[in-house]
């Protein structure tokens, strides 16, 4: 018994450590998020949070649901693969509430050169022009129909 009396301080120390470990485990069970580990080493609820983020681009199928006349024109021209929002910008809000949210009118002089300005790095077979030489900065839709960009004799639309 004398031996244990001399090691008493070590037992007290061990008790302190044990209490600390138990406190940690108890605290942990409160603090770890409920959905953690559901699918892997992460919070399962994260999927719900990420998937619930708002959508800004409606997607061309939604546009085509209403704007069938534009679809008719576009599907016959070389822009048939270009999505509506590629030029018109994100319009999910307009799809949600078409009457009150109107898309912004586009300025073709600035819009079209984003793709069609001549650049050495663009694929050779891609239609590109040096806009200064081609039109002198005039609006592109004064000669081309944007939805189906063949030349229109005599002006726009």
């Amino acid at each position: 018994m004398n031996k244990f009396k001399d090691a008493e301080h070590l037992f007290r120390l061990a008790a302190v450590f044990l209490i600390g470990a138990i406190a940690f485990l108890v605290l942990r069970s409160f603090l770890v998020p409920r959905s953690f580990g559901q699918y892997g080493h992460y919070r399962g609820k994260a999927f719900v949070e990420i998937a619930a983020l708002p959508v800004s681009y409606a997607g061309h199928q939604v546009c085509e649901g209403c704007h069938t006349d534009v679809l008719d024109v576009k599907s016959k021209g070389v822009h048939k693969g270009v999505a509506c929002e590629s030029c018109h910008g994100p319009l999910a809000k307009h799809a949600d509430d078409p009457a009150s949210v109107q898309p912004v009118k586009l300025d073709t002089a600035k819009l079209c050169v984003r793709c069609h300005e001549a650049n050495i790095a663009k694929p050779k077979n891609f239609p590109q022009v040096a806009s200064e030489d081609h039109s002198g900065g005039a609006a592109c839709n004064s000669c081309h129909q944007p939805h189906s960009p063949a030349m229109i004799a005599g002006g726009s639309q």
């Binding site: 001399d6 007290r12 302190v16 450590f17 770890v32």
Partner: protein
């Protein structure tokens, strides 16, 4: 540069962290020289080394907390550590080393003094000492013998623990395959040996400083022994770093051209001049002089101080070159960026300076609370009572 690479991710605080934990590991290894390997000569530095390690260990998490985007979420590392992440191990390795190794060893070594002081002091100090005794005032010979044995065991466990504490930091860098400046199996080993060098150097410097402050004679046998171990460790550290360098130059893989250019331009001052020349070659040369020539005591002291200071600067530069250097070049190997270090900012230079001074303040407090060297009056009593 990839567009997202222009801004550096890890700042000077992340340079400071391995520097601080390196000092902890190094100081502890020096202490273990006496305890486990029975190198009598370094005994005067034993307690100081432990207290130094503790002071730096307490400050070590602070640069990390200040760096995190969400320090209030840092407890998550304890709740859900990701088994595949070296960084997740930090919380547990740190806690283990702090509580199960360092605090325990200090407590066991000081317990006799703590009990004596819990009975002899007054006021709030008395309360602190009483709390530290954990309610037990048994300082019989047998209990002190048990303490001695337990302390020896703790130190034996503590050596690999110290390796782990700092080695994992090296692994954090060495395991990142995306970064060729870091990715290397040598990284943990290089970090560890440079940590030992810095730890031994700082204890040597602090011991000499404290003797000077206390107007005590410096035990030259002790300092000579410490300097000898510093010299040997430095040789190993330098060899490892040169091995890495030579290997890189010889193999000259995809990243070499980009890294080589970086070392010659952006990193020239901090790596070639400060780390290699001033921080490694010069101290090794100076220490070699003391080993080869028979120099007078005064000259040896001057050389030790100079070599020690240069070593500290050199090891800090090494951390800088690894952490900051690893982020100055693009992973495309086609570009470089610059580190814009703020001054008065959360991760700025001022913060780094404050965090470097803080451990010394804490050490001063620890030395007051747990004096490493007995009072001159009680030397006789201590000599009789303490087990050797």
């Amino acid at each position: 540069m990839y567009p997202n690479e222009v801004e550096l991710q890890w700042s000077v605080l992340i340079v400071l962290y391995p520097f601080l934990t390196g000092l902890v590991a190094g100081a502890f290894i020096l202490a273990s020289l006496e305890r486990v390997f029975r190198v009598e000569a370094v005994k005067p530095t034993y307690r100081l080394a432990l207290l130094t390690a503790l002071a730096f260990l307490i400050v070590a998490p602070l640069p990390l907390q200040l760096h995190l985007g969400h320090p209030e979420r840092s407890y998550e590392m304890y709740l859900t550590p990701h088994g595949s992440s070296a960084m997740a191990m930090f919380g547990f390795v740190y806690l283990w080393y702090l509580l199960a190794v360092l605090v325990l060893e200090i407590w066991l070594d000081y317990r006799r003094d703590i009990v004596v002081m819990s009975q002899s002091t007054t006021g709030w100090k008395r309360l602190v000492y009483r709390a530290l005794t954990l309610g037990s005032s048994n300082i019989s010979d047998r209990s002190l013998q048990i303490d001695e044995r337990a302390g020896w065991l703790i130190t034996v466990i503590g050596i690999p623990s110290a390796f782990l504490l700092h080695g994992y930091v090296g692994f954090i860098f060495g395991s990142v395959k995306a970064n060729p400046w870091w990715s290397s199996p040598l990284m943990p080993v290089v970090f560890l040996f440079s940590a030992m060098v810095s730890g031994i150097a700082i204890v040597m410097l602090l011991y000499m400083l404290m003797c000077w402050i206390r107007r005590e004679a410096i035990d030259m046998r002790c300092v000579d022994a410490v300097a000898k171990y510093l010299f040997y460790t430095f040789i190993i550290d330098f060899s490892l770093e040169m091995l890495d360098l030579i290997h890189r130059i010889y193999e000259a893989d995809e990243s070499f051209r980009s890294l080589d250019f970086m070392v010659h331009t952006k990193l020239y001052l901090s790596q070639v001049v400060i780390q290699i020349l001033l921080g490694t070659v010069v101290p090794i040369g100076l220490l070699a002089l003391t080993q080869v020539l028979k120099l007078a005591e005064r000259q040896r002291k001057q050389i030790y101080v100079l070599a020690g200071c240069l070593t500290m600067i050199g090891i800090f530069a090494m951390r800088w070159n690894v952490v900051i250097g690893g982020q100055l070049f693009s992973k495309s190997f086609l570009g470089y960026t610059t580190y814009k270090m703020g001054f008065v900012a959360r991760e700025g230079l001022l913060t780094a300076i404050v965090l470097t001074i803080l451990p010394f303040v804490i050490l001063w407090m620890l030395v007051k609370l747990l004096p490493p060297w007995p009072d001159r009056h009680s030397v006789a009593i201590s000599a009789a009572a303490s087990a050797d």
